[in-house]
Amino acid sequence: MSVKHTLLALLYQHPQHGYELGKQINAVVNTEWDVKLGQVASTLARLKDAHLVDYEVEATDDAPDRKVYFITDEGRRELESWYLTPEVREYRLGDAFYVKLVLSLLGGPVSPEQVLITQRRELFQQLHEVTELLREADPRTQLPWVLLLESATMHLDADLRWIEMCEARLNDLKHYTPPLPTPKPRGRPRRKLAHSSKT
Amino acid sequence: MTTAHPSNFGSTVWQMTLMGLRYLRGRKLRTVLTTLAIVFGVAMIFAINLILPSMQEAFAQTMTSVTGADLTVTSVSGESFDPEAVLPTVSGIDQVGAVTGILHRQFSLPTLGNSSLGDTAQIDLVGIDPATIEDVHQFVVSDGRFLEPGDSGKALLPAGIAELAPELHVGTTFPLITAGGLKIYNVVGLMAEQGDLSSPQIYVTLADAQAAFNQPGLINTVEVSLAPGADRDAVAANIQQALGDSYTLDQGDSSSNTLAAMQVGLAMFDVLGLLALFLGAFLIFNTFRTVVVERRHDLGMLRAVGATRQQITLLIVIESLIQGLIGTAIGLLVGYLMALGMITAFGQIASNFFHRGDLSLQFSLPGLLGAAAIGLATALIAGYLPARTAGRTAPLEALRPSTPANLMHAARWSLIGGAVVMILGVLLLLTGKQGAAGGAILFLMGMVVAAPGLVIPVARLISPLLSLGFAREGDIARGNLVRQPGRAAITGSTLMIGLATLVMIAALVLSFAALINSLADANFSSDLILLPQSIAVYDTVVGADENLANRVRALPEVQDVGTMRYASSVTADGQALQVMGINPDDYSKVASFTVNEGTPEEAFAALGSDRNALFTAIALSTVGLQVGDDFVLQTAEGPQTYHVAGVANDLFTFKIAAIFISQANLAADFHKTEDVMLLINLVPGADKDAALANMQNILTDYPQFTAHLTGEYKQELADVTSGALVAFYGVAFLILIPAALGLLNTLTINILERTREIGVVRAVGGSRKQVRRIVTAEALLLGLFGAAMGVLSGVAMSYGFIAAFGTVGWDMPYFFPLAGIIAAVVVGVLLALFAAVLPARNAARLDIIRALQYE
């Protein structure tokens, strides 16, 4: 999640004071995403250095002067190119359930079928709950919330479908023999390049 | 949960009617085609029923010539009798008031234009006894006077005659044909009554009438008036008892033979109408079978939401009834128009034939209701079977894609069943004359049964032929046809019936013409022939007394003269017979018979003695006698026993129930001495034209006769015969109309059903032309299929029916109807091509997108 672009998008609407920006993030995006004010301030400073935003000092009588930030032309261009860059979805194959399922295939106290059923029950329970919330939500006043819930139903649906697929595959997996660990060459294994991902 | 409302059945029926209407509207073309079949059948039957009563009426009118009396007595045979045998007996019976004897006959006037009775075509000459008639009958004379005893050559006319012959007044004269030659009558009076102008009654004295008909001293009707307050039924019973079986009361139907012949002719059209309806039933059955398959989703859904089997059946039945109703209504209208057309055409014939021109349509409620009922019943019956199938639709049908039934299995059984029936039919055909017609029908039925099983093999057989013209499309067409063997079979069967009729009629015509030829050769061995106004209906003929024959005999060119006389009679059990009187010695010199056994000479010889009779074959089979039997004939002299001496046919009698007896017997038993036909042989080498001229000279006194050279007459006859036979072909083609409708219907349904498929063919690059050719190829295949079956069963039918005619005595030679077969194949193919035009064009024009979306 990019705090930098969130701030740019909000400033695009109208010039704002740093404190107000911090509060608005939650209201708009409608998550538990809690952004510290300090993080807002430091990000604004970096944006200013990069000439993406600028500020005017607004004099007040009873309080210290406030900096009112506004977006620069360069900032607009940056925002535009951000919108037009698709977000890369991260596959969550490192998921704990995946490991559980694969391990159960090796044989153990619980059959893979049962593992799948258990997981499916949980996913359906979650889906049911989300669905109930969705039924209560009013799309006219709570659109971001509805979108978020729908995204959740879709993800849960995808997970359930994957489970369905796994279940269908189980017949094939019966004949699956995990590869025997091949003898390793002696000495220090060579280091693999780790993937680094940026958001 | 709702409660049941069993009381409100109407709500359900009404909703179903609405549904039916909308379904029908959704498939307009198909609805029209199916309905047309009903229209056609109902129209035929209704038209006949419109015409028949007016024909009957016309006859009835002609027959009610003498009215006004309380009771009339006539001879059972219809012939004249001696008044002394009846009048005293009747007048002696209690409560009888007055009695009078009458001799009357209705007859046609020769169409010569010189009759002086103006436009009158037919008259009823009534001979009355002026002394006694007025006690029985009231006459109001408006001008002049009534007849008086002793009058001769005096006539009393109805006032209405003025319309026909304006120049006739009291005091004027007119000539009238009589057995003794033309006779001049004086108009002495006009009656107030208008009279029946189609056959005006001309009153003359009894003596004049007896002279006119060459029946001196005889009467043919006794009129009886009752004493005041008498019990009519009791008196009638007493009279009947006193006179015995030879006399009948209140009956005067001497023309019933003609009427019966006419009814038979019209009944043939009725049969045609029924056949058309039968084919219509096929069409409806076919259509609704398709409908049920097509609509299985809807029907299944209705079942799923709680429709019972009966309700589904009802739905389809209602739908077919709607079609029946519409078809019947239109059919009645078309029938009316058809009848109008027919009566105009028929009126011409009728006016030539019966000298009556004023036929009119007669509405009869039973006729209307009958035709309507038959139309509706056809729709109902034909719709019911598919409706039952529909009722059996499982609710799950709604939810599954189409279920191709196992048709191959059914097809095999139909093939086996049909083959068995056909073999039975062939056996029956071969065993003999009696069962031959039945065998032919059985064969046809077997063909219909076997048809579904024949579709596949026959299609396979024909398709190489087809691939000559339709290299690629032929296979697709065959596949399409074979996919619905049931429908192809029904269509083929419809066509088959039409084409088989064509083949059969062709064969019959050939054989019939040959028969006529052989009869004509035997009959017309004479050189000249004198014929009366009508040779079909002797009842209305005024013949000639011996004078004519004598005068002809006296001509120098004439060598032999043979004459024919006529009387009508009935057998003891009421079968009508026409009695022909010949003088065996004279007649054998100028004509011959075709005999079934022995020689014509033996036949003639037999007539010379006792009360011997020669029967026509038809007469023998109608009466149910054998050669050698004795039988009782009602004559003017009471019942007389005759002996069946042999079987003989001639051209004039071969299609009627007639017997030949000697003229001596005819005179003694029937009091008939009029010649109704004269056959003349000339002296060898005589000048025919001179003879003809002399003859015509004599005939100026007997205008009822015309003289013909036999050779010319034979030619004329042959022309008339072939003309009549052409009408038979007309009948065959009429039957082909529903067959063509069936073809059109099936092709249309096939295409509707395959709309999606055609869409796919078009979408993947099939050209319009290819689509059209596929449909045409399919039609051709159907046409050839029907033609193949039609030819087979046509041959069987022609053989069977010609053999069957043998049983009624017409030994017709059998000719293989090669021309008919070729015609049937050609007609089948042409019909198919013709029926394919519209569907093929529609298929080719299908909008691809719409077709793909079609469900």
Binding site: M1, T31, W33, E90, R92, I117, R120, R121, F124, Q125, L127, H128, E129, V130, T131, E132, L133, R135, L148, S151, A152, T153, M154, H155, L156, D157, R161, A168 | M1, T2, A4, H5, P6, S7, N8, S11, T12, W14, L18, M19, R22, Y23, G26, H297, D298, M301, L302, R303, A304, V305, G306, A307, T308, R309, Q310, Q311, A394, L396, A398, L399
Partner: protein
């Protein structure tokens, strides 16, 4: 109180040589007011089970009770009346009779039952109003969208106030949005109109509306999953935020 109950319900298709057990030894009880979803892979016997419950098909063995009647004991006519009065069907395809208007389609079970037409049509109007199609009463099915057609079918199922509504993939043909409309309506039928509903679906999101999900595999029940009320919104909100943030 149980509305539908089966005991060792078995349906075998095919001939003796190669029997296909579509439904095998199923014991299932559906209570009044319950919303049960049936899920399972294709060919697992979901539809077959549903047809058996609704008396559209006869079981090979075992029994089905609908309210207290043993439907195996009914003849065809009685079964038709039972379908008409006690069961409402909604299917995936061919739900409506094309030549009838929406209103008439809805009224057809009543009319088949002999209710006077005017009254049946009035009740149909009410049912249509419930599914939000009051303004489409006189339209023919071809003039309606897929979702609207399914709602008409639902109205038809509702109009007789049946003991149970059986729906076989009623949303199978619809996009997410229309599917949502239809299933919302089904849920409302259970919540507001106290109907009992058994629904076959492949769509988890549709099944999630149910109170209970029964899983079939090879004609047998492999899981019977009762879902508990709705979750804690705040807790879910927190979880979802993690999803967004991750």
């Amino acid at each position: 109180m149980s509305i539908v109950r089966t005991e060792s319900l078995t349906k075998v298709y095919g001939d003796v040589g190669q029997p296909i057990p579509a439904v095998h030894d199923v014991d299932l009880t559906v209570d009044e007011g319950e919303f049960v979803a049936i899920m399972g892979p294709s060919g697992s016997g979901k539809s077959t089970l549903l047809y058996l419950l609704g008396g559209l098909d006869k079981p090979t063995s075992g029994k089905v009770w609908l309210r207290d009647s043993d439907i195996d004991a009914l003849d065809d006519d009685a079964l038709s009346r039972l379908r008409r009065n006690q069961v409402g069907f909604v299917f995936q395809f061919f739900n409506l009779i094309p030549v009838l208007t929406a209103q008439e389609n809805v009224a057809i079970p009543l009319i088949l039952d002999g209710m006077p037409r005017a009254r049946a049509l009035k009740q149909a109007d009410e049912a249509l109003a419930r599914v939000g199609l009051a303004d489409r009463a006189t339209h023919r099915p071809t003039e309606l969208s897929g979702g609207q057609q399914q709602r008409v079918a639902l109205a038809r199922a509702l109009v007789t106030k049946p003991s149970v509504i059986l729906a076989d993939e009623p949303t199978g043909n619809l996009d997410s949005r229309s599917s949502d409309d239809v299933v919302q309506m089904l849920r409302r039928a259970v919540d507001d109109w106290k109907q009992t509903l058994v629904l076959v679906t492949h769509d988890s999101r549709v099944a999630a509306f149910a109170d209970r999900i029964v899983f079939l595999k090879d004609g047998k029940i492999v899981d019977d999953n009762r879902l508990k009320g709705k979750g804690n919104a705040d807790q879910i909100r927190e979880q979802l935020s993690k999803m967004v943030l991750s």
